[in-house]
């Protein structure tokens, strides 16, 4: 057992973080929020060039030839950076939809009665007939509702990569909360010196690090029950973490200008993907009875 990142995996994670900081830093995020519904195709192609979508495609088919653990690390970074677009659908379409692997084609997919970025995608997989736009909660995720779009059994890879994005959010909101708690002073000292605030931050770390172990392990085993577990832990870490981050930021956290609400809203969007939380809980309960717990 050597359950830790290899040097190559660490380099991949760091490289992805640098790429996203360069191509989708704070300014770009701000601009994206102010022009909702616009997908940056140049960024999409840059992601394609970096191997974002072709990561798990065999080298013989022009891919990078890496596995789920590497994909999880890359999507964790996407989650951290709040990178917009139907990233997972396009990643999963690599090799099946021409141009998806290189970032030339933007692919979305119907999932659980919803479809993300339907107007901007070149290809929408699944039956999107009768899709109607809705006023999306998340300014960075345009959504259409698909009538009668009951979810088929979700692709475990889609569940896992969503969990990886949630993990990125969980880790990022913990950092943001800690930064704020160290800088913001009230009653003559940093608010992070108050236990009530410090313990909120500690709780965020506990949830994100527990989720990290679950998500990474599920990437290694690719076992659907491990993936369901990873999903529950990562959803919880992201949503509760973002809420606590908002709380630590006080009034500033309630403003549009702060980045915190974007993390919470995206985390909420992701909880609706890939079958939902109830299904994951039922799958884990069923596994107890099947004796594979």
């Amino acid at each position: 057992m050597r359950f830790r990142l290899t040097d190559d995996q660490r380099a991949l994670r760091d490289g992805t973080r640098r790429l996203l900081a360069r191509r989708f830093g704070g300014e770009a995020l701000r601009r994206a929020v102010e022009s909702p519904g616009r997908l940056d195709r140049a960024l999409w192609r840059a992601l394609g060039e970096a191997g974002f979508f072709a990561l798990r495609l065999p080298e013989a088919e022009g891919g990078v030839g890496l596995g789920l653990p590497e994909a999880v690390l890359v999507f964790e970074e996407a989650g951290r950076a709040l990178l917009p677009g139907p990233l997972i659908a396009t990643h999963l379409a690599a090799g099946a939809v021409p141009g998806a692997a290189t970032g030339e084609t933007v692919v979305s997919a119907v999932d659980g009665g919803l479809v993300e970025w339907p107007a901007q995608a070149d290809v929408v997989r699944g039956d999107a007939a009768g899709a109607v736009p809705m006023r999306s909660l998340d300014p960075l995720t345009p959504l259409h509702r698909v009538p009668g779009g009951a979810a088929a059994d979700p692709d475990p890879a889609a569940v896992l990569l969503t969990a990886a994005e949630q993990l990125g959010t969980a880790a990022r909101v913990c950092e943001l909360a800690v930064q704020h708690a160290r800088a913001r002073e009230q009653f003559g000292r940093p608010v992070g010196a108050f236990q009530a605030v410090a313990h909120l931050c500690a709780g965020m770390l506990v949830r994100s690090e527990t989720a990290r172990a679950a998500v990474y392990a599920a990437a290694v085993t690719a076992d659907p029950v491990d993936i369901a577990a990873a999903r529950l832990l990562a959803d919880e870490a992201a949503v509760r973490g973002a809420r606590d981050c908002l709380q630590v930021h006080g009034g500033m956290g309630f403003t549009w200008e702060s980045e915190v609400h974007l993390h919470l809203k995206r985390a909420w969007v992701r909880t609706q993907r890939a079958g939902g939380i109830t299904e994951s809980e039922e799958a884990l309960a069923a596994a107890l009875v099947a004796g594979t717990a």
């Binding site: 050597r2 992070g192 236990q195 410090a198 679950a214 309960a285 009875v289």
Partner: protein
């Protein structure tokens, strides 16, 4: 990231499984929880068997990953717990190994490994719990002895211990952490009174230990006088992230038993209960992965535990309480019957968020040492 056994781990696991299958059927019957002499001889007998089979020092010399295999396999096979050997194997022994003289190592370590002597821990005091450095048990030097007066609390196995690893204050004028000394106190010395402490679960798992001018030879001091705090901290994290590894394996087994019970009594038809158990399944799967993650980090850093210990402890102690609360829901009104399975464990689980650093202290440790938030009070 690799979760599979290395060839060395695989070989160790196979050999251990074979030995456990051969050895466990020959063990004597487990003593009743109130039979302290019986528990002492049962626990030491198990350690003796481990010693004779070459597993005695798995807690000391084996790599963290091998140790995890040991804990996983012994738990799965239903082998005895470390029990009365806990302090000797997991704290006093490693402390002596790290900080003792050659003579001290030769005197105290072999009997621990061979399952011949029991150690207990005299750290906490009525007024020094989470704030251990507030301890007030005094020791004066008198010729070749220290003379110790004070009281200790939460001491497990005090009734049957041969030795006590004792923290005493030797310089009350020094800053709190600099006036403490580590002594090995023979438990048969005159002046020691042990009073069992009954817990809310009804059993006497702990004791209070009163010390009235107890003479401890100065040669029993490990490390320098007034350097006891550092001596103790060297090994406080000795378990390297595996402290509760066996228990996580056991909790996952309990969860499976709860599902079977719920199917049998019809409560499984309640989706809210099913989902609660499903969530606990996710929780304990994650805790096992977190254990593997922490152990791998310790392995990579040459045995030094990472910061993951507090994260794990906080999450696990809470999850254990949740598990037994779910057990109560499965049993319905039966949860009030202490003869039903799990209900005594439910009571003991209440100590988990308190013992070995309360959850509140763990939160503060994480906030200050991992997240770098300013120290607060």
């Amino acid at each position: 990231m690799d979760l599979s056994d290395t060839p060395e781990e695989e070989e160790f696991r196979a050999r251990l499984r074979e030995w456990l299958a051969k050895t466990l059927p020959g063990l004597p019957a487990e003593p009743s929880p109130d039979d302290w002499p019986g528990r002492r001889s049962y626990d030491l007998g198990w350690q003796r068997r481990l010693h004779d089979a070459g597993y005695a020092d798995v807690h000391w010399d084996a790599s963290p990953a091998i140790r995890l295999v040991f804990l996983e396999e012994t738990e799965k096979a239903g082998a005895p717990y470390v029990g009365a050997s806990f302090v000797g194997l997991l704290h006093a022994g490693p402390t002596i190994a790290a900080e003792g003289t050659d003579e001290q190592r030769a005197r105290w370590l072999p009997p621990i490994l061979r399952g011949e002597e029991v150690w207990c821990q005299g750290f906490s005091e009525p007024d020094a719990g989470s704030d251990l450095a507030a301890l007030r048990t005094r020791a004066w030097r008198d010729g070749d002895d220290y003379v110790v007066t004070g009281s200790k609390i939460w001491t497990s196995h005090a009734e049957v211990a041969d030795w006590c690893e004792l923290l005493v204050r030797t310089d009350p004028d020094a800053p709190r952490h600099r006036g403490i000394t580590w002594l090995a106190m023979p438990m048969d010395a005159p002046g020691i009174t042990v009073r069992p402490l009954r817990t809310l679960a009804g059993s006497a798992e702990f004791a209070e230990v009163f010390l009235d001018e107890v003479r401890v030879p100065a040669e029993n001091r490990v490390g320098d006088e007034n350097d006891g705090w550092r001596v103790t901290m060297v090994t406080l994290s000795f378990e390297r992230g595996t402290a509760f590894a066996g228990e996580v394996v056991a909790c996952r087994r309990v969860l499976g038993e709860l599902a079977v019970e719920a199917r049998g009594n019809g409560r499984w038809d309640d989706p809210a209960l099913r989902r609660r158990l499903g969530r606990l399944n996710a929780e304990f799967r994650a805790l096992w992965r977190l254990t593997q993650w922490n152990v791998s980090a310790a392995q990579a850093s040459g045995g030094v535990p990472g910061v993951g210990g507090s994260v794990f402890k906080l999450r696990y102690s809470h999850a254990r309480q949740e598990l037994y609360d779910a057990a109560a829901e499965v049993l319905g009104a039966g949860c009030l019957d202490l003869d039903r399975p799990w209900m005594l464990d439910r009571l003991s689980s209440l100590s988990y968020t308190i013992a070995a650093g309360t959850s509140q202290i763990q939160h503060s440790i994480i906030a200050e040492r991992i997240l770098g938030l300013p120290k607060g009070r």
